[in-house]
């Protein structure tokens, strides 16, 4: 198709502001799906996405409207997937910015709007849910216009639920969003903005063709990774897969690669022809690095191979997930996993538990640290247990957080951010009622319980988003927990010196409550290096005798003893001390530094 008849766009919205419903209406209105095929939220495929209302993987759907080819590129809705969002946006010339008429602008909307502006996208402001009784479309339009520097009169007002105003939105896409402007005759270049894995056909790349033409059976090259493969099939989604002989400049579609390993085809890479390669890749490729790490251990050690298989399977669809085997003397065999952020971690954990039926013990998450040892070696530490004893300097990742709250909660938010070593940058009023606060915070302070605290201190009104802005030196210490003199690797933490005492005390108190009394005294200590900063003793039991045996009923007594032994097998052994799994869980769930 001629490029001037093509429009590529995304929908940017906060969770629950109606993105998926709007996408459904668009598919219906353009007859892409018949009423019979229509099921709600066609684009969200995974069970988990449906339940959480989160779209994990971007997809693209081609629809026809008034002689034009419109490609709707779906974007993931959360901060952890910022890189994927930015790739998706790069595949577009414009984006609808959808805001709930009752909720107004949220932090994520702001963050993604800025992302869109950075990508030079034409923004189409839309106020959704105008049919709701509590809707305030005028105020939402005002906020939205203020955010992108437009006129409130240009803001479209719709109800995706009823379909009101959706046709006008499609007209506006054609009128206001520019057509693509690649070079149709140049050597082909396409941006990979997403990929997924199909058991039978291998890696499927979602691409936006920028220049030239791609043909089925052509031999292709992924320029950054250097991966070569043959395009087994080209096509597009409408909304299911439709094969096509070519994909031309300006179009969006898929390439079936036959590759069996997702890591060989990274999002952000540029595809070109192997025979007639482009001289330069498209700009902007970067390798996304996990920032949050946690140990995942099966509660039943027999499930270790099942966990390994499950991680392998997840990794096929999730190139950002990192995992490597980890052995903990307390928790046994497991994996240290790297995630883009907390939500990513939660999703992986839930998928492992739900789709693979695994019972997991997850250690407290930590961030990546850059360490300079006293001998001058530089290394990145993903696991507190690996922190060297002698360090010259430790750097931790910092984020720039934007928090949007009604003005009456500014105080509590500032208090929380300060407790978490936040540095205030500035504050702006989005409207008379709502302020956006910008803070710089150590990521480590955010991964533990920050979001829950933020929600509870603002009665759920705060919205929060962040970007990692780099590594900075911190006054960080490694806190070890020792049970009967044995360090428990799974409970080691790296934290700011100022919160070490409080945290050490809380850990020790909790363990004393949770570890049952043993046949001997058990000291529980928290220590920084060789210095003990908190200590409690679990006093030895004074009696432990089985019931009487009466009238020769020895079997009953033996069964009691067998039960006692079976109970022991469920314990984790730390030296000579038996620690119930629940004790680890209780400690790992311990609230943040507060």
């Amino acid at each position: 198709m001629q490029q001037d008849r093509i429009r590529n766009f995304s929908i940017i919205a906060h969770i629950d502001h109606g993105k998926s419903t709007l996408a459904d209406r668009i598919l219906e209105l353009t007859d892409t799906v018949s009423g019979r095929e229509m099921r709600e939220q066609v684009l969200d495929t995974m069970e988990l996405e449906r339940e959480r209302g989160i779209t994990i993987k971007a997809q693209a759907v081609r629809v026809a409207w008034k002689g034009h080819q419109l490609n709707l590129i779906d974007t993931p809705g959360h901060v952890d997937f910022t890189y994927e969002v930015s790739r998706s946006l790069q595949a577009c010339e414009g984006a609808m910015l959808v805001v709930d008429a009752a909720q107004g602008v949220e932090a994520q909307t702001v963050a993604n709007a800025y992302l869109a502006i950075e990508n030079d996208l034409e923004l189409l402001p839309v106020v959704n849910k105008i049919d709701l009784p509590q809707a305030d479309p005028d105020r939402a339009a005002q906020d939205l216009a203020g955010l992108i520097g437009g006129d409130p009169a240009d803001v479209l007002r719709i109800s995706a639920k009823t379909g009101q105003g959706v046709a006008e939105v499609l007209d506006a896409v054609i009128e206001r969003i520019p057509a693509p402007s690649g070079a149709p005759e140049a050597p082909p270049r396409a941006l990979i903005f997403d990929s997924s894995y199909d058991q039978y056909r291998g890696v499927v790349a979602f691409v936006r063709v920028v220049d030239g033409v791609f043909r089925t059976r052509e031999r292709l090259l992924a320029m950054a990774e250097g991966t070569r493969f043959e395009a087994e099939e080209l096509g597009f989604f409408s909304p299911t897969m439709r094969a096509s002989d070519t994909l031309e400049a300006g179009e969006v579609g898929y390439v079936i690669t036959g590759l069996k390993d997702v890591s060989r085809l990274r999002v952000g890479d540029t595809l070109t022809s192997l025979e007639h390669p482009a001289a330069e890749p498209l700009p902007g490729y970067k390798d996304v690095k996990p920032m949050v790490f946690a140990g995942l251990f099966p509660t039943d050690s027999d499930e270790y191979p099942a966990l390994r298989d499950a991680l392998e399977r997840l990794k096929l669809n999730d190139a950002a997930l990192l995992y490597e085997p980890e052995t903990s003397q307390a928790l046994g065999f497991g994996f240290r996993c790297g995630f883009l952020g907390l939500l990513h971690m939660e999703i992986v954990r839930e998928r492992l538990e739900r789709e693979f039926d695994l019972d997991l013990l997850v250690t407290a998450p930590n961030v990546a640290y850059r360490v300079l040892t006293t001998e001058g070696h530089e290394l990145e530490v993903h696991n507190p247990a690996q922190m060297p004893a002698e360090v010259e300097r430790v750097e931790e990742p910092y984020i720039r957080a934007s928090i949007i709250v009604p003005k009456e909660y500014v105080g509590p938010v500032m208090e929380l951010a300060t407790e978490r070593r936040g540095r205030f940058d500035h504050m702006e009023y989005l409207s008379e009622e709502r302020a956006v606060l910008i803070y710089e915070l150590p990521l480590a302070e955010v991964v533990v319980d920050f979001y829950d605290q933020l929600k509870s201190r603002t009665r759920g009104y705060a919205s929060f988003d962040y970007d990692v802005v780099g590594f900075r030196e911190g006054d960080l210490v490694k806190l070890d927990v020792l049970i009967a003199g044995e360090p428990v690797d799974a409970l080691s933490l790296i934290l700011h010196r100022g919160s070490a005492y409080g945290r050490g005390r809380a850990l020790v108190d909790k363990l004393r409550e949770e570890i049952p009394r043993q046949l001997f005294d058990v000291p529980v200590q928290a220590a920084i290096g060789s210095r003990v900063i908190a200590r409690e003793t679990i006093k030895a039991k004074r009696k432990d005798v089985l019931a009487k045996c009466y009238g020769g009923d020895i079997t009953r007594k033996r069964k009691l003893l067998e039960r006692q032994k079976a109970g022991k097998r469920r314990m984790k052994q730390v030296g000579a001390v038996e620690v119930p799994q629940e004790a680890f869980l209780a400690v790992l769930n311990l609230d943040g530094s507060k």
Partner: protein, 376 residues
Amino acid sequence: MSGVVRHLYVHLPFCGHRCGYCDFVTVVGRRGEHARYVAALLAELELERAALAPHLETVFLGGGTPTFTEPEALRRVLRRVPAAEEVTVEANPETVTPRLAVLLREEGVTRVSLGAQSFQPELLGVLERYAQPDDVRRAFYDLRDAGFDNISLDLIYGIPGQSPSAVAADIDEALALRPEHLSCYELEAKPGTRFTHAHGEELARQAEAMETYFEEVVDRLTTAGYRWYETANFCRAAEADGGRDLRSRHNLAYWLGRDYLGIGIGAVSTVAGRRWRNTPRLPAYLEALERGSPPAREVEELGADVRRRERVMLGLRLDEPLPLEPTDGVVDRGALRRLEGLGLVAYPTGEDRVEALALTRRGRLLGGGVTAELLA
């Protein structure tokens, strides 16, 4: 042809009422059925008699409350069971009269185990015991007057509302009677029972204090010259009693892994690697034996490994060292060394030639945990 089993247990399940904490196989009242039950019991004895040796070491009549059984029915049982060197009958204080004491004596009973439980009226009330402290003393002296020179008292500690000083007082009251033997058990409040429902909160409140009760019982009795020969059992030391060994020989048979035959409802037998438990249901028991058949039984074959484990589990309750050789393979040698380091286990010979194993005093107080640890 006669067998080799030298220990016989006879279950007499009848009671005047059921005490709140009790979870034994008991039948309340039913005076009219005592004779019928005894007839069935003796029929079962005849069916199994071939297993018994010509001379028994011990016979034990347990319950229920054996002394609640109609005197003539009880007399029939005592006359029909084979003679034995030790014949014990369990008794409740309120059922003991001078006449009954004489009857027991006449019918060859050598030892009486009297269920005192406590000497505090309010604690007896909590246990739903009818006897008062004076009834216990009176019963004790009735037995003495009838010529019994081997009387055991049962005490329960850890009763809801029982303070540490009340435990000491109970022991002192019991010692004042100079019994040959004492059995002291901690109250077991089984979850879901009426008793636990009524007293669970009180028990939870005193749980910490109760940790010390067992030690208190052991200290007081050993100081008074009693031998702590089994986890919950004490007897006057032989040297203090003219050389008599006053341990319960019948219960020792269980703890030493000997074979025994049990008759009556719910009774357990272990003979030649096979254990069975009679039905606890009275009507089913009566009907079967009246037809001339053995009662319904739950049978368990005991493998060699299980028998060795039981040997350790029971043997470690005793104060005499357990020979280790016959228990090979079931004791975890690593645990043995660890527990020795903690001062819980002592074994007399060198590291590699462990022949016998005993628990230290503290090891015995923690016997359950230590045993679980030792059994690999």
